[in-house]
């Protein structure tokens, strides 16, 4: 299968060269995705699909364009490519546009990433239905439940890439996830809701379906009786799952494109102690079974471990070849893989005890951040922390500040890494955070 896709990519390169491209990059992708969803005791949705797509990047007379299609009919592909080359010729030349230089393909790692589990291909209808039934029963095991939807999501993807300057590569992966969302009757017309989903590349990454359903229910139960929290400046403990999302916001402008466009608060920070010394972020594409593991990135750059922040000092940014050339930076990789956040010694309970009084944030609701300045304001849900223990459930609050400033006030780091995300973060504690509520 992967050889066949590789051929499609190579054929695309030949067709593009015949159409007039000086250089070309092609990626062919094929995926299978199966979705079984179960709601309130009955199967609600079955989706079973196989999908294909071809994407290309072309370089003509110092000009660049990218194209994608799901229509792989050879004749129509030929006219699509001819048009693509014509579009490219009509653009302005850009001296920084150049196909990924071959030296960046060199030394591709051979680490066994273990991203394909044959057992995923063996999951059948009966297995999915059985998981759905267990998820459903455990998620609905409470008299307050109005509705619970559970689902099993599994599949596989193969991609093959080829370039006119000799790149060849294929990557294959499987996935298997399941989980539930639960809605409970709360005060008045209000409903409390939450969910939990777990999985990974291998079937063995799945916790027992009953515990996943139960966790979803428990998360929803903890939202019961949520009231608006107070307006105050206090300590913020962010749970591991929500912390990964916050790190994602922090890293969004940590790349050459944002820096080159002068839209990044990371500009000029390389080598600087920009954040608390408790903060370490390593981009590691070579973690076996990692959710974003890979041997090469979308430009074909060989994967390697890339420290972004070490003990608060900025080490590297995400640099693709084009924006790297424009900004005068050496390419690293333009796209994040697994982001591993440095851990501390504290369990969640120990963090609560250390915090004493503050707000425990378990999820975000909306909000945004300005990439240029780092100014952010986010809706939060969670609990008050009182005397080192979890207190009442709160919501309808905002937390507001500046991302660089916030991460310079990272005071404690947990050891409780959330495994179901490509950002592997523990719980994080920040001092003196502005909350707005009642």
């Amino acid at each position: 299968m992967s050889a066949e896709l590789q051929n499609k990519a190579i054929q695309a390169i030949e067709m593009l060269e015949n159409a007039g491209a000086d250089d070309a990059w092609a990626t062919a992708i094929q995926s299978r995705d199966v979705e079984f969803e179960y709601r309130d005791g009955a199967l609600e949705k079955v989706k079973d699909t196989t999908s294909q797509a071809l994407s290309v990047e072309i370089y003509v007379d110092g000009r660049y364009s990218s194209h994608a299609t799901t229509d792989l009919n050879p004749e129509r592909l030929q006219s699509f490519f001819a048009e693509a080359v014509a579009i490219t010729r009509a653009l302005e030349p850009d001296e920084y546009r150049e196909i990924t230089p071959a030296y960046l393909f060199a030394e591709r790692p051979t680490t066994h990433l273990d991203l394909v589990d044959q057992a995923v291909f063996g999951i059948d209808r009966e297995q999915r239905l059985q998981w759905c039934e267990i998820l459903d029963a455990s998620a609905r095991d409470n008299e307050r439940v109005i509705s619970a939807t559970g689902g099993v999501y599994d599949g596989s993807q193969i991609s093959a890439a080829a370039s006119s300057n000799g790149f060849r590569g294929t990557q294959e992966s499987t996935y298997c996830w399941y989980g539930s969302s639960v809605t409970l009757r709360d005060q008045g017309d209000r409903r409390a809701e939450d969910g939990f989903y777990a999985g990974g590349a291998h079937v063995s990454a799945l916790p027992a379906a009953s515990s996943v359903g139960r966790t979803a229910l428990e998360r929803a139960l903890s939202r019961l009786g949520a009231a608006q929290g107070p307006t105050l400046k206090t300590t913020m403990l962010v749970d591991a799952r929500a912390a990964g999302q916050l790190i994602g916001r922090l890293l969004r402008p940590a790349n050459a494109r944002n820096v080159q466009q002068e839209q990044s608060f990371w500009s000029g920070l390389i080598g600087e102690q920009a954040f608390s010394d408790k903060l370490t972020i390593i981009d590691d594409p070579l973690i076996p079974r990692g959710l974003a593991s890979r041997h090469y990135d979308a430009e074909g750059i060989s994967a390697r471990r890339l420290p972004i922040v070490e003990n608060g000092v900025v080490m590297n940014l995400y640099v693709d070849t084009y924006n790297g050339r424009k900004a005068g930076m050496q390419p690293t990789t333009g796209s994040p893989s697994n982001r591993v956040i440095g851990t501390g010694d504290y369990s969640l309970d120990a963090l609560l005890a250390e915090v004493g009084d503050g707000v425990y944030v378990t999820s975000w609701l909306g909000g945004n951040a300005d990439s240029t300045t780092g100014d952010f304001s986010l809706g939060v849900r969670g609990h008050m922390i009182e005397n080192g223990k979890l207190g009442r459930s709160v919501g309808e609050m905002n937390v507001t500040g500046n991302l660089r400033d916030l991460f310079s006030r990272l005071v404690l780091v947990g050891n409780d890494v959330y495994p179901y995300s490509s950002t592997l973060s523990p719980s994080l504690v920040f001092a003196d955070v502005d909350f707005s509520g009642v």
Partner: protein
Amino acid sequence: MRIKRREFLGHVAAGSAVVTMPAFLSGCGVQTATAVSEATPENPFMSWFGVDQATTARVMSELTANGADAADLYFQHSRTNSLTLEDGIVSSANSSIEQGVGLRVVVGEQTGYAFTEDLTLPSMLAAARTSSAIASGGRVTPPQSFNPAGAGDMYVTTVPWADVGINQKLPILKFVDEKTRAMDPSIQKVAVYWADADERVMIATLGGKLVTDHRPMTRLTVVVTAKKNGEVQTGYSNIAAREDFDWYTEERLLTMVQEAVDRTMIQFEARRPPAGEMPVILASGPSGILLHEAIGHGMEADFNRKGVSIYSDMIGKQVAEPFITIVDQADIPNERGALNYDDEGNQAGRTVLVKDGILQSYLHDEISAKQYGLQPTGSGRRESYKYAPMPRMSCTFMEDGPHTREEIIEAVDHGIICETYTNGQVQIGAGDYTFYVKNGWLVEGGKVTAPIKDVNIIGNGPESLKRITMVANDARLDTGGWTCGKNGQSVPVSQGIPTVLVSKMTVGGENVS
């Protein structure tokens, strides 16, 4: 510096896309299909997808072989072109084609779904068999042929985007770049992003209906970065519509440029407001994001048939002041959220969500309509052939009220007025929602004073509706390119509102101690 908002409004209203809503809508009822073409194999959409009546009937027959209450084939071909101007040159182009057919079977509340990008008969039959596995043993009589519905006229264009050459588009990007740079010496970077799309859909239903729609879309965005005394600020503006090339008049482009530069420059003076609860004025137009988040999603009937929305038990109840009417309407010509037919092939039209303060109707797709014993409201939408449809909004807005913008500002002693937004989100069950305010102003002693920026606002849907105490008479739809995401599917939407006062909302800000 002040953003001259009123002037800006007057300026744009002279064009055709932005109009005050009531006058506009009064002349625009639900469009009825007039021209019905003959069911021939020469149907241009069938030819486009390389199928005919017999093939389509054959696939439908396979799809419903195990029974079905409803079933449809959703053929789609979507061609998108985009251009990027950065650092003074149009240095990259992108085009993409998405083509495929989605095959859906519905039995009660159960859905079977499959799609294929290979539109040959064997591939479609295989996908039909996969999809049909949800059903077991029922019997239906599939149609032998499909009867074409009339073409809609919500976005008739003279020249399809496919026929507009890149040479015609480039000068627009260059013009926007040059005009933006000329606006202020502190401007360091200008980026201009162009997108146009031609989408063809053909829906064949178990009921024998054949609905076709050609949906154009275009969007233009300008991003400005400016530097003053070492401080850098970024702002942007965009415009979007189901329009053709002629829509891009010089006046419209200059308005967008002015807006982007104003939004950027004001940030050098803007600060965070104090944190906490306060009265919030939502300026007309983009503030329709309030309706989208605080009530729109909660009124989508899939959430209500499952009982998971905070609005599930509120139909017929007084939810707002009697001068408040909130509508979701797809048949507004050329708006980004406009539709002739929804993605189940039903006529898209006007659904009154709240009339004179009373909750009226949910937004229904066929599944929910059947469960409630109602007609679908034409709200079944999907991102593409890769997805099953569900109830979604189109153009959501509030009609004019009895007050004026000036009266509303005068009524606020300590509060803020919100002008522009980047995004919002809602929790359907609890009703808590948020939206992020990019630009706004403090209101002190009944007067607009200092600029503010970057604050999230959070509230509870039903509570906020009750707290809308004043509604002005300046309703308008926003021309920005809003996209709504739900369960992993994105669809284009529009939103609008007159200036309103919400007596209390929670504003993210700084604690002054």
